[in-house]
C-alpha cells in the first residue's frame, strides 16, 4: 500500500519533470538536424516558468469552461501518467485503469480543450476544435486496433500485464504483428501529438494551425498548463510505444539497482524514439488537412494487418 | 314462442310504420320494435345456451347456438341503427335534403319508405338463421335483397339508382347460383333420404346424414353455394356491388348491410360448409375458402391505399373483413371457427360505429370526398372526430381493441394448420390496410382548423355514437362470459366436422 503510494508520487513527479525535457530534446534535435543551433534542451522549462508567473488575459466572451479546459487537460494527462508503466513493469496505479482508461482520459482532456477553443467565440478557436476533433476521431480506431493487437497477445488490457507478458516472451517484438502494430501506433503518435506531417507545433499561420489555433486565446498560467499537459501526453504516448513493444530493462522488483537500470534504459529508449520522431518531422512536409485522413487510413490498415497476423502467426 | 316473436315483431312494426301518419310515430315504432327484438334475441341466446337447440312450427323454425349468435348480432345492429337513424334523418330534414329532389315526394313518405322497409328487411334477416329448412333460408336471403333495393335508392339520386341496379343484378345472379347449390344439395341428400319429403331440406335432418351424401354432387353444390352466398357476403371477385351500394345507401341502411346482412350471408355459407366438410372432409372446402378469403383481402388493399371517398373506404374495409372471416373458417382447427365467430361478433359491433362517424362527417360537410374535406375535422366536430380515429384503429384490428383478439386467434389457427404462406399474406394485408386507413382518416380528422363552423349534431346521433363507442372500448378489455360461451358453443357446432 505504502510502496504503491510512494511509487505513485514518484512517478507523478517523474512525469511532470521529464515531459518538458523530452519536448526540449525534440526541439533541439530538430534544430540541429536543420543546421540551426536551437533554443537548448531546457528552454521548455524556462517557458513554463515564465508563463506560470505572468498575468493572463481572459477573453470577454468566455465562460467558466475557459477556466476548466486547461485544468482538465493537465489533470487528465497527469492521471494517465500514473496508469502506465515507465520504469517499473508494475505501473503504480495500473489496477485503476488499463489502456482503455488511458485513451478515454486523454479523450476527456481533448473534449474540454475543444470546448475551451469554442468558448472564445473567435473563428480560430472553432477552426482548431473542429480539426482537432476530426483528426483525433479518425486516429482513434487505428490506435485501438494497434493496442488490441498488443492486448490480445497479452490477453489483458491492463498495461502492467501487457508489459509483463512482453518481458515474459523474449523476441516477441520481432513478431510481424508487433512490428505492424508499432508502425500503426507510431503514426497515431504523430497525429495525436500534433507533429509534422499532421500538424506543425511551431506554426502560427492561421490556415495551417490545428492545436495552436485552439489555444490561441490562452495566455499565462493556463497556456503553461496546456503546454505542459500536451508534453505530458506526448511523453505518455511515447512511453506506451516503447514499453509495450520493447520492454527492455523494465524493473520487475523494487530493488534500487533494477530501478536505476530501469531509469537508464527508459531515458535511452525515449531518446531513440525522439530521434525517430525528429527524423520523420524533418524528412516530411506538412500535409494538407484533407490528406491527413489518408495517412490515418494507412495506420488503420496497418493495425488490421497486425491483428490478422497475430491470428495467423 | 320466442322464435315466432322474433319474426313477428319486426313484421308488425313494418305494417304499423306503413300505416303511421307522423314521423315521430314511425320513429317510436321502429325504436320499440328494435328494443323488443333485442330482448327476445337475448332470451333466445339464453335458452340455446341452456337447452342445445330450440325449434317451433313443426320443425320449420330451428335455432341452435350458431343461429342464436347471428340473431343476436343482427338485432344489436338493428337497435343501434334504429337509434342513429332518428337523428340521421332529422338532420337530413333540417339540411333540407328532401326538399331539393325533383319528384316532389313529401319528406314523410320518404321516411315511411325507410321506416316500413327496414323492419321488413330485419325480419327477413332474422328468418335466415331461424329457418330450419335450407330452401327457406335461401328464400329469406333473396328476400333481404329485394327488401333492401329500395332502401338503397332512398335518395333517388341517379347514382343510387345505378348502385341499386348493380345490387339487384349481381345479387340476383348470385342468389340463383345459391339456389342451384341448394337444389344440388337436396339432390345429393335425396339419394340417401328419398324425395318429396318436406323435411328433406331441414338442417336438423341433413346434418345427421351428411356423411352418406353423394360426394360428386356435393362438390358441385358447394361450388355453387360458395359463389352464391359469397356474392351476398361480398367475397371477391363477387364483391363489386359493395362499394357502390354502401356509399349510396343512407348511412343506417349501409351500416345494416355491412354489419348484419354480411353475417346472414356468411351464416348460410357456414351451414353448407358444415355439410360439405362432413361429406367430403374439410380439405376441399378449406382450400376454396382460403383462395377466396385471401383474394378478398388482396382486392381491398389497393382501394384502401388509394381512395377518394370515405364511404367507399368503409365498403372495402368490410370486403376485407369478409375475407378475414372466410379465412378463419378455412383455417379450421380448434381455433379457426372460434376466431371467425369472434371476428363476426366484434366486427358487427364495431362496423356500425364506423359508419355512424362517416355519416356524421358526410352530413356536416355535405360530401364524402376526402379532397373536399380539408382536414382538421376535430375542430368542427370534436366528438365525432375523436370517435372516428378510435374506431379506425379498432376496425383495423390494432390492440387493445377487440378485433385484434379475433385476428390473432385466426393467425394462430393458421399456424396450427400449417398454412404458413396464407398467414404471412394475411398479416401483410392487414398491415397495409391499417396504413391506408390511418393515413386517410388521420388526414381527415387532424390538422389545422379549416374554419368550418362548429357542427350541430342531434342528440340521437351523439348518444348512439358515444354509447356504441363505449361498448367497443369495453369489449377490448372484457367480453361478457355468456356471450363468449355462446360463441364457443356456436364454434363447437361448426367444428364437430373434424
Amino acid at each position: 500500500m505504502i510502496t504503491t503510494l510512494l511509487a505513485a508520487v514518484f512517478q507523478l513527479l517523474l512525469v511532470l519533470c521529464i515531459s518538458p525535457l523530452i519536448s526540449g530534446i525534440i526541439k533541439t534535435l530538430k534544430a540541429r538536424l536543420q543546421m540551426r543551433r536551437g533554443p537548448g534542451v531546457l528552454q521548455s522549462y524556462r517557458n513554463l516558468f515564465k508563463l506560470l508567473r505572468k498575468q493572463m488575459v481572459m477573453p470577454d466572451t468566455a465562460s467558466w469552461l475557459f477556466d476548466a479546459a486547461p485544468v482538465m487537460v493537465f489533470a487528465t494527462a497527469a492521471v494517465v501518467g500514473l496508469l502506465i508503466p515507465m520504469i517499473t513493469a508494475q505501473a503504480p496505479l495500473s489496477l485503476f485503469g488499463g489502456v482503455l482508461a488511458v485513451v478515454y482520459l486523454l479523450g476527456l482532456g481533448r473534449f474540454f480543450l475543444a470546448l475551451g477553443g469554442l468558448d472564445t467565440g473567435s473563428s480560430f478557436g472553432g477552426l482548431g476544435s473542429s480539426r482537432e476533433m476530426t483528426i483525433s476521431s479518425l486516429a482513434e480506431p487505428a490506435m485501438m486496433l494497434a493496442i488490441f493487437t498488443v492486448a490480445l497477445s497479452a490477453n489483458s488490457t491492463n498495461l502492467s500485464e501487457v508489459a509483463r507478458s512482453a518481458i515474459g516472451q523474449s523476441w516477441r517484438f520481432l513478431a510481424p504483428s508487433q512490428m505492424l502494430a508499432f508502425a500503426a501506433l507510431f503514426i497515431v503518435l504523430i497525429a495525436e501529438t500534433g507533429r509534422i506531417p499532421v500538424d506543425n507545433p511551431a506554426t502560427h499561420l492561421e490556415l495551417t494551425m490545428i492545436h495552436e489555433a485552439m489555444i490561441l486565446e490562452y495566455s499565462g498560467p493556463y497556456l503553461a498548463l496546456i503546454e505542459w499537459g500536451a508534453s505530458i501526453k506526448q511523453l505518455i504516448l511515447m512511453t506506451l510505444l516503447i514499453n509495450t513493444f520493447y520492454p527492455f530493462g523494465l524493473s520487475t522488483n523494487w530493488s534500487g539497482a533494477s530501478l536505476a537500470i530501469g531509469c537508464g534504459t527508459y531515458l535511452l529508449k525515449l531518446l531513440i524514439l525522439s530521434t525517430l520522431i525528429v527524423l520523420v518531422e524533418t524528412a516530411n512536409a506538412k500535409m494538407r488537412l484533407f490528406r491527413v485522413p489518408e495517412l490515418l487510413a494507412v495506420a488503420f490498415v496497418l493495425g488490421a494487418l497486425a491483428l490478422i497476423s497475430t491470428f495467423l502467426f | 314462442m320466442v322464435l315466432a316473436a322474433l319474426l313477428v315483431i319486426p313484421l308488425l312494426a313494418a305494417v304499423a310504420a306503413f300505416v303511421a301518419r307522423r314521423r315521430v310515430e314511425m320513429e317510436w315504432i321502429n325504436l320499440v320494435a328494435a328494443v323488443l327484438t333485442l330482448t327476445f334475441a337475448v332470451v333466445l341466446a339464453g335458452s340455446t345456451l341452456q337447452s342445445g337447440s330450440v325449434s317451433a312450427w313443426g320443425g320449420l323454425l330451428y335455432a341452435d347456438a350458431l343461429s342464436a349468435l347471428v340473431v343476436l348480432l343482427v338485432s344489436i345492429v338493428y337497435a343501434a341503427c334504429a337509434v342513429y337513424a332518428v337523428g340521421y334523418f332529422r338532420d337530413d330534414e333540417t339540411n333540407g335534403v328532401f326538399d331539393e329532389d325533383s319528384d316532389g315526394v313529401p319528406a314523410v313518405d320518404r321516411l315511411r319508405k325507410y321506416y316500413s322497409l327496414t323492419p321488413l328487411f330485419v325480419c327477413l334477416m332474422l328468418l335466415v338463421p331461424l329457418s330450419n329448412n335450407l330452401g327457406i333460408m335461401w328464400v329469406a336471403i333473396e328476400g333481404t335483397t329485394l327488401a333492401s333495393v329500395f332502401l338503397v335508392t332512398f335518395y333517388g339520386r341517379p347514382n343510387s339508382l345505378e348502385a341499386a341496379w348493380k345490387y339487384a343484378m349481381i345479387g340476383g345472379v348470385g342468389l340463383s347460383m345459391g339456389l342451384f347449390g341448394t337444389v344440388l344439395t337436396y339432390y345429393s341428400a335425396s339419394l340417401v333420404m328419398g324425395t318429396e319429403t318436406l323435411v328433406g331440406l331441414n338442417w336438423s335432418v341433413l346434418v345427421t346424414k351428411a356423411a352418406q351424401f353423394d360426394k360428386t354432387t356435393m362438390r358441385l353444390a358447394f361450388i355453387f353455394i360458395l359463389m352464391g352466398y359469397g356474392t351476398k357476403a361480398g367475397i371477391a371477385p363477387m364483391h363489386t356491388w359493395k362499394p357502390d351500394v354502401y356509399s349510396e345507401a343512407p348511412v343506417p341502411v349501409a351500416a345494416m348491410l355491412a354489419a348484419a346482412l354480411l353475417n346472414c350471408a356468411l351464416y348460410g355459407l357456414l351451414r353448407f360448409f358444415i355439410l360439405t366438410s362432413r361429406c367430403l372432409g374439410p380439405e376441399f372446402a378449406s382450400q376454396l375458402l382460403i383462395i377466396f378469403g385471401l383474394l378478398s383481402m388482396a382486392v381491398a388493399v389497393p382501394f384502401i391505399l388509394v381512395q377518394k371517398s370515405f364511404r367507399r373506404l368503409l365498403a372495402y374495409s368490410s370486403i376485407d373483413h369478409g375475407g378475414i372471416m372466410v379465412l378463419g373458417l378455412a383455417f379450421g382447427g380448434p381455433l379457426g371457427a372460434l376466431g371467425m365467430l369472434l371476428h363476426m361478433t366484434f366486427h358487427s359491433i364495431t362496423k356500425p360505429l364506423l359508419f355512424f362517424c362517416a355519416g356524421n362527417v358526410q352530413q356536416h360537410l355535405k360530401t364524402d370526398q376526402f379532397r373536399q374535406a380539408k382536414g382538421g375535422l376535430i375542430h368542427a366536430m370534436p366528438i365525432t372526430g375523436a370517435v372516428f380515429l378510435l374506431t379506425t384503429l379498432a376496425v383495423t384490428g390494432s390492440p387493445p381493441f377487440s378485433l385484434f383478439q379475433s385476428e390473432f386467434t385466426i393467425l394462430r389457427a393458421a399456424f396450427d394448420g400449417h398454412h404458413i404462406l396464407p398467414a404471412v399474406l394475411f398479416v401483410g394485408f392487414l398491415v397495409m390496410i391499417f396504413a391506408g386507413f390511418l393515413i386517410h382518416i388521420a388526414r381527415l380528422v387532424l390538422g389545422e382548423d379549416p374554419g368550418t363552423p362548429h357542427a350541430q349534431i342531434s342528440d340521437w346521433k351523439k348518444y348512439s355514437l358515444i354509447g356504441l363507442g363505449a361498448v367497443v372500448v369495453i369489449l377490448g378489455f372484457w367480453l361478457p362470459a355468456p356471450l363468449f360461451a355462446l360463441v364457443q358453443s356456436a364454434a363447437r357446432i361448426v367444428r364437430e366436422v373434424h
Binding site: - | 333473396e142 341517379p158 341496379w165 339432390y187
Partner: protein, 228 residues
C-alpha cells in the same frame, strides 16, 4: 296399356323437351328483337311447365303439378305480359344491341353447352340405377348449360330489360334442374321460390322503369359513374 304410359317413352319425351328448351335458349341469344325475346322466353317457360307436368304424371308426384301450374301462371302468362306492358310504356327502340356480335355469341353458347356436359358427365354413375341419377345425367347437363348461357346473356346484353330476361331464363335452368333431378323441392320451398321470382321481377321492372326515366335510355352499360 297405352304407349304413353310407358316410363321409357316419358323419359324420351322429357329429354326431348329439355333439348328444345336448350335450343330456345340459344335462339334467345341469337335473335335481336325485344318482344320476340320475351315471347321466346314465354315459350321456353311453357316447355318447362309441360316437362314438370310430364314428370308429375309418370312419377305420380302430385305436388309437381302445382309447380307446373305456378310456372305456367307466372312465367308463361304473367311476367311476359308485364314486360310487354313495360316495353310499351317506355317506348324504346326494339332492337337489342349485344356487346358481342351474334355469330360469336352463338359459338360461345355452344362452348358453354359443352362445359355443361363436361361437368354433368361426372355425375353419371349407372351402378346406382335410381331414376333421378340417370335422368339427371341428361337434364342436369341441359340445366347447367341453360344456367351458363343465361348468365352469358346477362353479360352480353346492354338494355336493362334484356338483362332481366336473361336472369329469368337462367332461373329456368334452375327450375329444370330442380324438377328433373329431385322432382321439385319441398312444396313450401317451391312456393317461396316462385314468390321470390315474382317479386324480384317486379322490383327489377320498377328499377328498369326508373332507369329509363332518369337516364332516358335503358342502356345500363352507360351506368358507370361509380368507380374506384
Amino acid at each position: 296399356m297405352y304407349f304413353y304410359q310407358d316410363p321409357q317413352f316419358g323419359e324420351r319425351m322429357i329429354t326431348l323437351m329439355a333439348a328444345f328448351v336448350l335450343v330456345l335458349q340459344i335462339a334467345m341469344v341469337a335473335q335481336r328483337w325485344l318482344v320476340t325475346n320475351i315471347r321466346v322466353f314465354a315459350a321456353q317457360s311453357f316447355l318447362l311447365a309441360s316437362i314438370a307436368g310430364t314428370i308429375a304424371y309418370y312419377n305420380h308426384a302430385p305436388h309437381i303439378y302445382i309447380a307446373a301450374a305456378m310456372t305456367f301462371a307466372v312465367k308463361v302468362v304473367f311476367l311476359p305480359i308485364l314486360m310487354e306492358r313495360l316495353v310499351a310504356k317506355i317506348e324504346i327502340r326494339q332492337e337489342i344491341e349485344p356487346l358481342i356480335n351474334v355469330p360469336l355469341s352463338v359459338l360461345i353458347s355452344g362452348g358453354l353447352t359443352m362445359v355443361g356436359y363436361v361437368v354433368a358427365e361426372s355425375f353419371y354413375h349407372p351402378e346406382a340405377g335410381t331414376t333421378p341419377a340417370t335422368l339427371g345425367h341428361n337434364t342436369l347437363a341441359v340445366a347447367i348449360s341453360l344456367f351458363l348461357i343465361g348468365f352469358f346473356m346477362m353479360i352480353n346484353r346492354r338494355k336493362a330489360l334484356t338483362q332481366v330476361l336473361a336472369l329469368l331464363s337462367l332461373e329456368n335452368g334452375l327450375f329444370l334442374a330442380a324438377i328433373s333431378l329431385t322432382y321439385g323441392m319441398p312444396l313450401i320451398v317451391e312456393v317461396g321460390v316462385f314468390f321470390d321470382v315474382l317479386v324480384a321481377t317486379m322490383v327489377m321492372g320498377i328499377l328498369v322503369y326508373r332507369i329509363s326515366e332518369t337516364f332516358d335510355s335503358m342502356d345500363v352499360s352507360k351506368l358507370r359513374r361509380l368507380r374506384g
